[in-house]
């Protein structure tokens, strides 16, 4: 993975917290990062060139312009006043290369002075094991602060640790070994055949990122919410709100539009396609 800076710009080494999405159902992590970038007025600093991320291009995702700037598949933004770096990912990872990609990201974070990584992602409602109707829009987390995944800061904010996390479970263990570059003898071809319920979470992209950032000695916190495919904007607001609390953003650090707390990115106007053709009526 190579970082290519925009002309005249460099990554702010004082931005010690990195916020980025892990691909997931509903693209909630990516939508959440979109909100944070647009609302903190983060500036694009450059691009990340990684052969494991499929290419895509588009026009400025955040603001309308007569001469819009090009958007690429993997971009880095700095919000220096908030000591935050964001990485936004707009396209999938090559199938089978998620761990490689996560390792590259971890190398990038470690090489650029990041101390804390916040990963935003989502989980499939269909896989929710313990339905707790009293918890409402509950945020779940997984932290490297303690061996069991707990974190006092997250507990204080009222979030629940991902109960299914078990670092001794075979696939979590396997991920950790791969992330640390240890020789592993287990035959992964059996993984496909006998995937059990407990194997689901460690198979997800956020788990690869969690293991790889942890292996680099960085503090990593994964923030997760359960959702289904559909209009996932409300989920993204929830996740962005949680992230803002964790990284210490004050209300004055976030600028909104359309009378709301957040600035809705310009590209969200068409996220679900064009409006229906009214001429048929």
């Amino acid at each position: 993975m190579e970082f290519i800076s925009e002309d005249g710009k460099t990554l702010d080494q004082q931005c010690s917290t990195l916020v980025l999405p892990a691909l997931s159902i509903g693209n909630v992590g990516q939508l959440g990062v979109d909100l944070l970038i647009s609302s903190t007025r983060a500036q694009r600093i450059g691009y990340l060139d990684d052969p494991n991320v499929l290419p895509c291009v588009g026009n400025d995702a955040y603001t309308p312009s007569l001469k819009p700037q090009l958007a690429l598949s993997l971009e880095a933004y700095d919000s220096s006043s908030n000591s935050l770096t964001f990485v936004q990912q707009r396209s999938p990872v090559v199938k089978g290369m998620m761990l490689e990609y996560a390792k590259n990201l971890a190398d990038f974070a470690a090489a650029n002075g990041k101390k804390h990584v916040v990963v935003l992602s989502s989980l499939d409602f269909g896989r929710w094991q313990t339905i707790d109707m009293s918890s409402g829009l509950q945020i779940y987390y997984l932290s490297s602060a303690n061996m069991d995944g707990t974190d006092d800061d997250c507990e204080r904010l009222g979030w629940k640790r991902l109960q299914e996390y078990n670092p001794a479970q075979r696939r979590w263990k396997y991920l950790d070994d791969l992330a640390e570059g240890k020789m592993v003898q287990e035959d992964t071809s059996t993984f496909e055949d006998d995937m059990q319920d407990e194997d689901y979470l460690p198979s997800l992209p956020f788990a690869a990122m969690f293991s790889c950032f942890k292996a680099k000695g960085l503090k990593v916190t994964c923030l997760l919410c359960y959702c289904s495919e559909g209009d996932n904007m409300p989920d993204s607001f929830q996740l962005a709100e949680a992230a803002s609390k964790l990284v210490g953003l004050r209300d004055t650090d976030i600028q909104g539009n359309e009378g709301g707390k957040w600035t809705i990115p310009f590209s969200w106007q068409s996220v679900y396609g064009p409006p229906a053709d009214m001429s048929i009526f």
Binding site: V57, G58, N59, A61, M97
Partner: protein
């Protein structure tokens, strides 16, 4: 009508396997490589303009340019050579590289006549831009992909849209010496994306800080869009180019449809 149950999800949604950390990686393939008709030059080629033809209309138009010279080809090891004709043909699964002289300046044209798998586009783009070919400017011509487009796509309209790199965007609009390409073409709307080889090429241009433009045309094929692409190229990109297309060839390329290259191998 689309079957929402069994059809592929829109590209913004994932299959479970797409997100699986333990999915097997793709088979390792040999790297793509360039073969030139003259002995390998010591220095990279530095054309004033590098044109990539990916869409059916652009392939058709550029194929019929009489004054171009075949100088090389890009070999993708996974693409078989079987069925390729001795003389370049639109039905070949090939990626030929041509040079053409326009007003004393060298222009290189790359005709991409096969589909490049998504996971290979990064390597192909790196091979074609910035290593053996270092252009002053790049133009990529592709078709608009309806699956990635969030706006309306009327079936009876013909149009083109563009994306530009930062270096291209900075150019003045009305400087006669050097101004933006395709001034009459509107910008691609925010919220829609282009993927595949066209995206990889334009991304490479942005990262190499080159002047680059990607133009996508709609519909994918047909006389009207072929006419539009031809008009854009002659007016904005290759003004003054001597164009003599035999009348029967002209009829053929104006009526051309989507090239189904798979049926020819």
């Amino acid at each position: 009508m689309e079957d929402v149950i069994t059809d592929l999800p829109p590209p913004s949604r994932f299959f479970l396997d797409d997100l699986n950390n333990f999915a097997p990686p793709p088979t390792t393939l040999p790297s793509p490589f360039l073969v030139f008709s003259t002995p390998k030059p010591n220095k990279p080629l530095c054309p004033s303009l590098l044109i990539f033809a990916l869409s059916s209309p652009s392939l058709n138009f550029l194929h019929h340019l009489p004054s171009k010279v075949l100088i090389g080809t890009l070999v993708l090891p996974e693409i078989p050579f079987s069925g390729i004709s001795l003389e370049p043909s639109l039905t070949d699964k090939s990626c030929n590289i041509y040079s053409i002289n326009n007003a004393g300046k060298m222009i290189i044209i790359v005709s991409v006549q096969y589909a490049v798998a998504a996971e290979r586009t990064h390597a192909v783009a790196k091979m074609l831009i910035g290593k053996h070919i270092i252009p002053e400017r790049v133009l990529i011509l592709d078709s608009l992909q309806s699956r990635n487009f969030r706006g309306k796509l009327p079936p009876d309209e013909t149009f083109a849209l563009k994306l530009e790199t930062s270096m291209e965007r900075k150019l003045p609009e009305d400087d006669p010496e050097e101004s933006q390409l395709l001034k009459s073409v509107g910008y691609f709307p925010s919220g829609s994306v282009v993927d595949g080889l066209a995206a990889a090429l334009l991304s490479r241009c942005e990262m190499e800080k080159l002047k680059g433009t990607l133009s996508v045309s709609w519909p994918e094929s047909g006389g009207s869009v072929t006419s539009l692409v031809r008009s854009l190229l002659l007016k904005d990109v290759l003004p003054g180019l001597e164009l003599s297309i035999k009348s029967d060839d002209e009829d053929k390329y104006m009526r051309s449809g989507v090239l189904d290259l798979d049926i020819y191998t």
